[in-house]
Structure formats: C-alpha cells, structure tokens
C-alpha cells in the first residue's frame, strides 16, 4: 500500500509537470515518465500484459515519435502567451469546479464489497480468452475503424501534383 501511495504521488507530480514546464521537450519527457508510472499501476493491478503494451506502444512508439516532431518543429522558443487573464481565470474556475465535483462524487462511491481477484486475471491467456470469445465482434470491428483511419490519413496527407501546400 505504501508503494501505491509513492507511485501515485509520482504520477501526479510528473503529470502536473507536463503542463507546468515551459519547454515542450521537457513536457514530452515528463509525459513519457507519467506513462511509466501508469504502467507501474497496471502491475499493481495485476495487469502485466497491459503494462507491457503500454510501455511498448505509448512510451516507446507514440511518445518518441512525438518527441521527434517537436524537435523538428523547433518549438523551444518561448512564444508570447495568447490567452488573456480572463480566459485563464475562467478556465481555472471551471476546471476547479469539475475537480471538486469529481472528488465529491468519488468519495460517495462505496467500495467495500470489492471481491479479491483471481491471480490469472491480467495474464495474456485470460485476456485472449475474453477477447476472442466474448468480445469477438468489437475486436473485429476495431480493424474497420483502424482501416478507415489509415485510408483517411493517407488521403489527407498525400499531396497531389500541383496542389498548394499550407
């Protein structure tokens, strides 16, 4: 339990550093660190497979790609703040209200009757059983979803001859 508190504090700290740090590259690195912390939470929740996937896909592939893009775009120069004080204040009040509501709601949830889970729950075998048995239709539909997204990305990204580049 103590380790859980330590990990949670670390996650929250690095997540807020993502927003607070001025340098976008630092933000991305903090985000990668946040993903590692979340993977640690997955291990504590007995979801080892999810942990591995999270590190490989998010921390590994997506965030490194993100880092490259930011480095290429050279955003490290501090651009002047475009938001007015009023906008910032309104945003802070709205976000704060939402936070208070969510905390108040989550305190009300009764979690006494949580059943202890089976040790095999988060393993690849159990996941595969569920994925190919109960959730076979969503699993197949995801392929349509990804295919649509790929077709769209290629179509929108491809520049035809003589087309304007903005």
């Amino acid at each position: 339990m103590n380790f859980w508190y330590f990990l949670t504090a670390l996650t929250l700290l690095s997540a807020s550093m993502v927003i607070l740090s001025k340098n976008p590259i630092h933000s991305v690195l903090y985000l990668v660190f946040t993903f590692f912390c979340i993977s640690g939470h997955y291990v504590l929740l007995n979801a080892q497979f999810l942990m591995a996937v999270n590190i490989v896909v998010y921390a590994g592939a997506i965030m490194v790609l993100f880092l490259f893009v930011i480095m290429m775009m050279d955003l490290s120069k501090n651009s002047p703040d475009s938001k007015s004080t009023l906008t910032k204040l309104a945003g802070a009040i709205l976000g704060g209200t939402l936070l208070v509501i969510l905390i108040a709601a989550s305190r009300k949830v009764d979690l006494k009757d949580v059943k202890p889970i089976d040790a095999q729950t988060g393993m690849v075998e159990g996941l595969g059983q569920i994925l190919y048995r109960d959730y076979v239709l969503p699993f197949e539909l995801v392929s349509i979803l990804f295919f649509v997204a790929m077709v769209g990305a290629v179509m929108l990204g491809k520049r035809e001859a003589g087309e304007r580049n903005f």
């Binding site: 009300k108 969503p138 077709v151 769209g152």
Partner: protein, 508 residues
C-alpha cells in the same frame, strides 16, 4: 470435455449472429471492394489519352458511384426484409440487439445515404475515390450504433462514425476544410474521452457493460445518487456531442460551413437518428431521474440555436444553428420520459430527415447555379445571393417556402405535427409531474418557435420581395427538380397523413 461443447455452442451462436447482421457484413465487404476498385480505376482514369481523358475520369466517378448506390440499395432491401421476423434477438452474446426499433432506424440510415448519393448525382460533383468507401463505413457505424446495447460497442460504433466524419469534413483539402476538420476532430476527441471516462465509472459501479441487463440498472440504483449521476452525465457528453446539443454544439457551424454540402445534409440527419436511438436505450436503462438535466440541455440548445441563427449571413451557418435548435426540440420528447415522448422524437427525426435534406439540396442548387460568381473572399452561400431567385424560378421559390415553413413548424407541413407531438407530450408530462421547469420549457419552446420564424422566412422574403441583379438566370435540370420534389412531397404528405406514420411508429 465440457469446455469443448461450450466452444461449439459459442461458435454456432457467432455464426448465427453473423447471419443476422448480414446487411453490415455485406457493407463491410463493399467497403473493401470499393477501396480495391478505386485503386485499379484510378490508374485507368489517370491514363492521359488526350481525347478521352474526361470520359475516363467520368467512368471512374460513375463506376464508384454506381457500385455504392447498388450496394446501398441491396443493404436497404436486406434491412427491410428483416422486418418480417421481428423477434428481439441478442447477437454476439448480448453485444447487439436486433429489435424492430433498430431495424426501423437502420432503414432510415440507409435511406439517408441513398439521398446523399442522389444529391451528389444531381449536383454533378466529383470526389476522389476514397469518398465512397468512407460513406459506406459511416453507414456501417450508424447501423451498429442503432443495435448496440453494450457500452463498448456503443463507443466503438460512435468512433467509426466520428473518424469517418472527420475525414469527410476535411475532404475538399482546402484551407477552410482543414480548419473545419481540425475543429471537429479536437472537439470530438475530447467528447469521446469524457464519454469513455463516464463509461469506465459506470463499469466500476455496475460490473457490467451491458446496458440491457438488469445488473446494470441495479448496480446504478445501489450506488449513491450523486456519484451515479455524474458518471451518467459524463457518458451522455459523447452522445450529446453527436447530436450537437448545447453545450457541445460549438463545432457545428464551422463543420457545416467547411464540409461539402451533400455531406453536411447527411451529417445533419443520419448521425442524429442513430445517436437518438442510443440515447433512448441509455435513458431506459438508467434508473436516475434525468428530467431536469435534459430539460436544461433542451432549453439551452433551443435558445443558443435560435438566437445565434438570427444574426447569420450565410445560409449554411444559418441551417447549422437551426439544426442545433431542432436537436433541442427533439430532446423535449426525451424530457417527458414517456412512451408518447419517444414516439414524438421518432416522428420528429423522420420529418427532419426530409426537411434537412431538401433544405440543403435547395440552397446548394441555388448557390452553385451558373452565373453566381462571387469573389474568392466571400461565400457562395451568402444569404444575399438568394435575392430575387423566387421571381426568376417560381417553382424553386415555392419549394423553398415549403421547406422553410416546415423548419419553422407551421401548417400545412409535417414540421407542424412534429412540434405539436413533442409539445403535447411535454404538456402531458407537466400535468403528471407538475414540475415548474417543464412549464418553463413549454413556454420558452413556443416563444422560440415564434422567434425562429424571423430567420426562416428571411430567405423566402429575399427570394420574392427583392430584385435580383441584372441578367440572372436560374434553371433546374429535370433530375434536380425531380429529387427536390421527391424530398419535399413527404413533407406535405406527412401533414395530411400524419397518423399514418404515427401508426407505424407505435408498432415499433
């Protein structure tokens, strides 16, 4: 040994379910076929043979359009055939449900894709080949949305619709289209993220994703009211985004202005039809009292939509705000939480299918007429471009008047009965519960109907009472006129035979 028998049963169930969702499986195959056909035809069309270049290009367009049209008609036929066996069946282990409501809404979705294709045909638009597979994938998503009773399936089908919609919005590849598409994807991604968060909270409270199961309602009822309401509201965010209800309406005018007009007409109709069925299913599953919440959202949508529409100078933006207001009116039907309310929503949806498609078709034809040359900086759809068109082409003027009157909700059009049903359901609900907010909603809704007259009648006013510029001509081709009349006729027909449609709806 027992495990093996279980597996055989499961496989049999999956095969049986696959057989039942044959329209969607068929559309999935068409989706792949269109992408492959596009690859081969593109090469054929881009062969430069000096003389026949344009004919090659035309065959390319017509073939893809034709394949799409035929397969949509086949799918429509398959859906209609499903009406004959209306036993409510759960498919894929309670992932989907096929009841008469789902079949009816699937038929409406397919019909709206048919109108979309007809609109493309009469306005002689040319699209890159990826357009047609994307339209098919939207239809797959919409059909699955109408059948989903599992939160995961609801999320996934909404996402299929959304991703295809983002791409279709940015399809023209102009700067404006890119802006609209980017706004759409940012708001859409945020809305789905919030919806997923709400769904995960609901899963934590109930231990099931299946909204049709009694465990789901029981689990929510056992949780504290505040906590469960927040989870439900978060989940609703995603649905409300899809029907562009306030406060999730901000994307609507920009997207409608930048997307190709046939697609805009489709967006104004089909995703709303499917999303409303999802909302109806969700409302009947949760035990919480959502009456006040829905009333506030409906009130906000009507007010925002109508008052913003008053200042619009662009017809597409005007119609965008008008669809937001219409969403508000449809939500009134859900406020009542009664049988009559749900029926009135379905009626309203069908009426809005015809009115929105005809409204967008008519303004599109007028904006793209020959001789409507506007400078780069201004829009073809500016309201001033419609000056005097009714005098030049009276038949067109009359069609526009009918559509606008129907949007405003006056007799003798179907829009009148749509609003009447919704308001009578609301009045009944007020007399049952006696809540002040319902009376407020009733009064404010009626007031807004009057306000909406100002901007709806602005276009016919300009068309008949203002002089057009010198030397303007405006002729509709035969097929354009035929489609416009085909879309406007049901609006009149449903006024005189409203009970006929109500009878069909009450059998669902």
């Amino acid at each position: 040994m027992t495990k093996k028998i279980y597996l055989a049963d499961l496989l049999e169930h999956i095969l049986e379910s696959l057989n039942i969702i044959s329209p969607e499986v068929f559309l999935g195959a068409v989706f792949l076929l269109l992408i492959i056909a596009e690859l081969f035809l593109y090469k054929y069309a881009s062969q430069k043979t000096d003389l026949s270049e344009s004919t090659n290009e035309n065959t390319y367009q017509n073939t893809l359009w034709g394949i799409t049209l035929i397969s949509v008609l086949i799918a429509l036929n398959q859906v209609i055939l499903q009406f004959s066996n209306t036993n409510d069946t759960f498919l894929f282990g309670e992932m989907l449900i096929l009841d008469s409501k789902a079949i009816f809404f699937k038929a409406l979705n397919t019909l709206s894709v048919f109108f979309l294709l007809a609109h493309i045909y009469v306005s002689k638009r040319k699209y890159a080949g990826e357009f047609y597979p994307l339209v098919i994938s939207v239809l797959i998503g919409l059909n699955l949305m109408t059948m989903s009773v599992n939160l995961l399936m609801i999320y996934l089908s909404i996402e299929i619709v959304s991703i295809s919609s983002y791409i279709l919005t940015a399809f023209n590849k102009t700067r404006k289209a890119a802006e609209g598409g980017l706004k759409y994807i940012l708001f859409g991604a945020a809305a789905s993220a919030v919806m997923l968060y709400g769904m995960s909270l609901l899963y934590g409270m109930t231990g099931t994703l299946n909204i049709a199961s009694p465990d789901f309602s029981r689990g929510i009822a056992q949780t504290d009211n505040i906590a469960s309401t927040i989870a439900i509201v978060l989940t609703l965010c995603g649905f409300l985004f899809k029907i562009s209800a306030s406060p999730f309406h901000i994307w609507t005018p920009d997207v409608y202005q930048s997307a190709p007009t046939p697609i805009v007409a489709f967006f104004a109709v089909a995703p709303k039809i499917a999303a409303f069925l999802v909302i109806i299913r969700f409302y009947s599953a949760v035990p919480n009292d959502l009456q006040v919440l829905t009333a506030v959202i409906a009130l906000a949508s009507i007010t925002f939509g109508n008052f913003s529409a008053l200042w619009q100078k662009d017809t597409k933006r005007l119609l965008a705000y008008s669809t937001i207001a219409h969403t508000g009116f449809m939500l009134i039907g859900l406020v009542t939480l009664s049988e009559l309310g749900v029926k009135s929503v379905v009626f309203y949806l069908i009426v809005s299918l015809f009115t929105n498609f005809s409204a967008f078709l008519l303004i599109d034809l007028a904006a793209n007429r020959t001789g409507n040359d506007v400078p780069e900086s201004t829009s073809k759809f500016a309201i001033d471009n419609f000056k005097g068109l009714g005098r030049i082409n009276p038949l067109f003027g009359i069609l526009v008047v009918i559509v606008m009157i129907s949007l405003a909700g006056l007799p003798p059009t179907a829009g009148f009965f749509a609003k009447l049903n919704v308001f009578s359901a609301l009045w009944e609900a007020y007399q049952l519960s006696g809540r002040q907010i319902l009376l407020l909603l009733f009064a404010f809704g009626l007031l807004n109907t009057v306000i909406s007259l100002f901007f709806y009648l602005k276009i016919p006013f300009l068309m008949f009472f203002k002089e057009s510029e010198e030397g303007q001509t405006f002729q509709l081709s035969t097929e354009q006129l035929a489609l416009a009349i085909l879309l406007v006729l049901p609006i009149l027909l449903l006024f005189f035979k409203a009970d006929w449609l109500m009878n069909i709806i009450s059998q669902l």
